[in-house]
């Protein structure tokens, strides 16, 4: 029987049953496939491993069962509805944690953040730290008096923009021009 293992999205996908839904949106699964999801419980302790077998219930529909892997139930094991994550990995950061991380890095700092240096260098180069893989986009706008970023008028003026792609958690250098 073919078998696949996945790491599940923390916020959008909950539980091992959701792991199957996550996979099915990205890969074609046929009846007989087994989806394995492993992770930690809400308390951060290592959880168990669950396997799910798919079976066809109708055209275009797939039903999955939810059966804990033998020997993995317990206070720190995964229960239906809990987040799942690959064992040995850092917990996924929450939206609030990500926002706090962004706010810490929004403001340009150092001598390179002076107007004179910015004009001379033609931009601003800085390192960006992310707790997980992803893409960061940072834009600087000048707002007219009474303006707001979400308002169409008066229109915000884009001063600089930069984009950093993080293949994994860590730091990467990005430039804003």
């Amino acid at each position: 029987m073919p078998e696949m293992t996945t790491v599940c999205d923390r916020r959008a996908r909950r539980g091992a049953v959701a792991a199957f839904a996550f996979l099915s949106t990205r890969q074609t699964l046929s009846p007989g496939h087994t989806v394995a999801a492993a992770g930690t419980g809400e308390d951060g302790k290592p959880g168990g491993v669950y396997n799910e077998a798919a079976e066809t219930v109708g055209e275009g529909e797939v039903s999955v069962g939810f059966t804990p892997h033998p020997g993995t139930t317990g206070p720190s094991g995964i229960a239906e509805g809990q987040d799942v994550q690959a064992p040995g990995t850092e917990p996924w950061p929450s939206a609030a944690e990500l926002k706090a991380m962004l706010l810490q890095q929004l403001r340009p700092t150092g001598k390179a953040a002076k107007i004179k240096r910015l004009l001379k260098a033609g931009g601003y180069v800085s390192s960006f730290h992310a707790p997980s893989a992803g893409t960061a986009q940072l834009d600087w706008y000048q707002l007219p008096r009474g303006g707001h970023l979400s308002a169409r008028r008066p229109k915000p003026v884009l001063i600089a923009a930069g984009r950093v792609t993080m293949p994994s958690a860590g730091s990467a250098r990005g430039s804003w021009r």
């Binding site: 959008a12 996550f22 403001r107 992803g134 960061a136």
Partner: protein, 32 residues
């Protein structure tokens, strides 16, 4: 005469792989 202070608004969007984007905004002032 050049301005010695410019107040800008930074808007950062971080999109973790496979998750929804998180947006943060903050005003800051560049000085000469």
């Amino acid at each position: 005469m050049h301005s010695r202070r410019v107040t800008l608004t930074a808007k950062a969007t971080f999109t973790p792989h496979g998750q929804t984007a998180v947006v943060a905004e903050e005003r800051f002032t560049l000085t000469a």
